[in-house]
């Protein structure tokens, strides 16, 4: 067999002096990097298998381990960087598409970091959240253009105490304990979690009031019961990490519970086609939206999730007119359990632009106030949330941020099913590593912290109700942006 040209990605440094050979690392590494050597009578490590997930480092009781990049360098080459070379070697060996996990990690600009927030000085008072109420309650759903005092009909709304929802992540791509953590946290925080395309496990029926169920191109797990056990239904058209691409859950991840929940035979691959085969145009979407509204007797908002692509403004406007109550837009940094590397890294546009363009377009169309907008695709902190809302979002989806709160270390190996943190896996030994008690606690902590920060920022701007920030682009200034970028986002430059 020909020798492989691929070098290990990482180098594991075991401090011999600190290591007490307790074998905790051996027990924790699902990639079999660390093993107990009978002959040497100590723990040894095989770096070539390491994915740098940090499980062993975090668990090592004597801090004897650390991991660094494999030190061997290629000849400097601004064009052929080491990543490009290694990927080429890999494909030369495998002849296959390169897979990866989580969101786009290329050094594209992160526009959130080019936006600055405003604060009150002298001419009007900033508000101290510790003394004055600051309201961030948000309602998602269709709104009538004007209030009709004579009618008591009102479209169904999703009520959120914090303008954040947990993004769709399917049972199958993530473990049931992830769903349990998300669902518990969502109901404690009164926000929403999203089942993703894997259906809704029966253990989670009790969280219906905070559950968004997803209908995607594979239609896995969709039935009357599932629709009944939800507060809202989301039609997934696309995903920021792989616009225009379907999904594929390998058979080995389809155990009994997954099979039962997805309603497919155990061990069979679950394939979600790229398009919905009953949606080839906008009017088809309208039909699906309304068949779902019929099925739920118009008692639940219908969301439509699309990836941020070049023509997103027109697409979103069409979706609104097709009858969607909430439009979710997933930027090109959105995460995924498995996506072709080239697609992830090269398709789609930043959520910051997509959001601004859609908000502006819907206002030009005079319908912005009638639909809700949810921004997704790498919201990293409370400032991103505030900036997204000032640009025009009603709320945001967080996926990667939520997973980080559950222990994800962004090693991007979700697709291997060997997630050492018990997140992207169905292996019972690994799944047990995520205790929903802890998971939900961490999620609740995270959003409570963000809640405090959001209120601080609002108060600083002299705003005590979130709706007064929505689309309030005067509260934003651009830094390091060119005229065109400022224009697209509809904001002034810092200093203007």
């Amino acid at each position: 067999m020909a020798v492989s040209w691929r070098m290990p990605e990482y180098k594991i440094n075991r401090d011999k002096d600190r290591c007490i050979d307790c074998q905790v690392c051996v027990n924790q590494c699902a990639n079999d990097v660390h093993t107990w050597d009978e002959d040497l009578n100590r723990v040894v490590s095989d770096e070539s298998l390491c994915v740098n997930c940090h499980r062993c480092i975090v668990y090592c009781p004597t801090r004897a381990l650390n991991i660094e990049k494999w030190p061997t360098a290629f000849k400097d080459n601004a064009n052929w960087d080491s990543g490009a070379i290694k990927q080429l070697y890999a494909q030369a060996e495998s002849g296959g598409i390169l897979l990866t996990g989580m969101g786009n990690d290329r050094p594209y600009p992160v526009y959130w970091d080019n936006l600055l927030l405003n604060a009150s000085q002298v001419t009007n008072p900033s508000i101290d959240p510790l003394r004055e109420p600051i309201e961030i309650k948000t309602f998602l759903g269709r709104k009538p253009a004007r209030f009709d005092p004579s009618s008591d009909e009102f479209p169904p709304q999703m009520e959120l105490d914090i303008p954040v929802l947990f993004s769709a992540m399917s049972f199958g791509s993530v473990s049931l304990n992830v769903h349990k953590s998300l669902a518990r946290a969502a109901s404690e925080l009164n926000v929403f979690w999203n089942t993703g395309e894997g259906g809704l496990h029966r253990d989670l029926f009790e969280y219906a009031a905070n559950t968004v169920v997803q209908v995607a191109s594979g239609r896995f797990g969709v039935d009357a019961e599932m629709l009944a056990r939800a507060a809202a239904v989301e039609i997934k058209i696309g995903q920021g990490a792989k616009p225009g691409i379907g999904g594929h859950l390998p058979g080995e991840k389809v155990g009994n519970e997954v099979s039962r929940t997805r309603m497919i035979p155990p061990g069979t691959d679950a394939i979600s086609p790229a398009p919905h085969h009953d949606i080839y145009s906008i009017e088809d979407l309208r039909q699906l939206i309304f068949s779902l509204k019929e099925a739920t007797e118009y008692s639940k908002p219908v969301m439509v999730k699309v990836a941020a692509v070049h023509n997103i403004a027109a697409i979103a406007s069409g979706i609104a007119r097709a009858g969607a109550d909430v439009i979710a837009i997933d930027g090109f940094r959105g995460g995924s359990g498995a996506t072709p590397l080239r697609i992830r890294d090269n398709v789609g546009i930043p959520i910051e632009f997509a959001l601004a363009a859609v908000d502006t377009r819907l206002r030009e169309e005079k319908i912005r106030n009638q639909v809700s907008l949810v921004a997704a695709g790498s919201i990293r902190n409370s400032a991103d949330v505030v900036k997204a809302i000032a640009l025009g979002a009603d709320a945001v989806y967080i996926g990667t941020a939520a997973l980080l709160a559950l222990g994800c270390h962004l090693c991007q190996k979700c697709y291997t099913g060997k997630c050492n943190w018990g997140i992207a896996t169905q292996n019972p030994r690994l799944v047990s590593r995520l205790n929903p008690e802890i998971g939900s606690r961490h999620l609740v902590n995270l959003l409570r912290a963000w809640e405090h920060e959001i209120k601080e920022m609002l108060g600083g701007m002299g705003i005590n109700a979130l709706e007064s920030l929505r689309g309030n682009r005067l509260m934003l200034r651009g830094i390091g942006l060119n005229e065109k970028e400022l224009q697209i986002m509809g904001i002034k430059a810092a200093g203007e």
């Binding site: 008072p125 004007r146 109700a465």
Partner: protein, 379 residues
């Protein structure tokens, strides 16, 4: 730089007096009241709105217009004569004063829209008037219609309000409702049109504060074809009330619940239907919530409404003396002109309404809506 090109935060003094029987009284009272708050202005803007001052021309729209030049005036008048029948056109009488050297040409026109002009608005006179004023102000450079209601007028200038009153000889007018504004802009507007009150049709608004929700309100209003040319809070506040009361026909109470809604936590105390109704109002009109500090006096021919932001971040005092109702930024500004039996400090979001006896609503237009029980308007 002039108003409209930049956004200029300001501190202010406001005052308002109404005789609810509709008996006219001289402008001196309001001048004295606003004069007392001299320190709250800095000489860069003052103005008044007066109601019931043109009894002889009550059925005509009284257009007060600033012109920067005779040529603009000529062009403007072409427009006017194209769409209106003009009953009287005259320069607004003023006292010559060194304080107002660079005064523009100030004329008033008493007019009735020609039927032909109304066709495009299927007879809706007000809609036509509103569009006409907005169009002129946003397109015709050098001309500015700063008052356009019936039997009322706005008078404003760059200067201290008491001097502005003196300049316009307001002591010689008799009106049943007066509001006044003294401005403390952080920059030099340098333009008379930028002074307050802001008036559209017979709406007039004087306001003290800085609306932190300005851009959210502005972008919301733009979906309803309002063009906010001045970038002032007063302008968006006027449009908001115009939208809520005139276009969407909300009751005054509901309009107040929209611009200064009760806290979500307060809603929980209400019974289900009421709670849901107020909640839905807020959901529908999220973009109309006025945030940040403000106290405003909103006036029409029917009376005045004074309102604070829901946290009461700006001062507002109200007083009652038989048929007179007073509102002002400071208690002293009321006591200097009256000795009321009743004086109080309205809570945040709690409206003070002073309607002419027999009037149900602030809105004077054709449609009639429930007056709204104001006692609990602010909840």
């Amino acid at each position: 730089m002039r108003e409209g090109q930049i956004r200029i935060p300001s501190g202010c003094a406001i005052s308002g007096i109404i005789n609810r029987r509709g008996h006219g009284f001289s402008g001196s009272a309001i001048i004295n009241s606003i004069a007392l708050m001299h320190e709250r202005s800095n000489g860069m803007g003052g103005g008044f709105a007066a109601y019931g001052i043109y009894p002889g021309y009550a059925e005509y729209y009284a257009l007060h217009i600033f012109f920067e030049s005779e040529s603009v005036k000529a062009e403007m008048e072409k427009n006017l004569y194209a769409s209106f029948q003009i009953h009287l056109a005259e320069e607004i009488p003023t006292r010559k004063s060194r304080k107002f050297k660079d005064a523009p040409i100030i004329w008033r026109y008493f007019a009735t829209p020609l039927p032909a002009a109304l066709e495009r608005y299927d007879g809706d006179e007000e809609e036509f008037m509103a569009r006409f004023v907005l169009r002129v102000n946003s397109t015709l450079r050098g001309a500015y219609i700063f008052s356009s209601g019936k039997n009322m007028g706005a008078f404003k200038a760059v200067g201290y309000p008491e001097d502005v009153g003196e300049f316009y000889r307001l002591d010689e007018y008799k009106g049943y409702l007066w509001t006044a504004h003294g401005r403390f802009p952080t920059n030099t507007p340098g333009w008379w049109g930028g002074a307050h009150p802001f008036a559209l049709l017979d709406w007039s608004v004087v306001h003290n504060g800085e609306i932190s929700s300005y851009d959210a309100n502005r972008r919301y209003l733009e979906m309803f074809d309002y063009v906010c040319s001045l970038q002032t809070d007063t302008e968006v506040i006027t449009y908001l009330f115009d939208l809520l009361l005139r276009k969407h026909g909300l009751s005054l109470r509901d309009a107040i619940l929209v611009v200064a809604p009760p806290l979500w936590s307060r809603l929980e105390e209400l019974e289900k239907n009421e709670r849901e109704r107020i909640q839905n109002l807020r959901i529908v009109y999220a973009g109309a919530l006025l945030n940040g500090p403000f106290s405003i006096i909103l006036a029409t021919g029917n009376g005045l409404l004074a309102l604070n932001d829901r946290l009461k971040l700006r001062s507002l005092v109200a007083a009652e003396d038989n048929e007179y109702l007073y509102v002002a930024s400071e208690e002293a500004a009321i006591r200097v002109v009256a000795n009321p039996q009743k004086l109080w400090f309205p809570a945040g979001g709690e409206a003070v309404l002073g309607l002419l006896y027999g009037k149900e609503s602030l809105y004077t237009g054709g449609r009639c809506f429930d007056g709204g029980k104001l006692e609990n308007a602010g909840i």
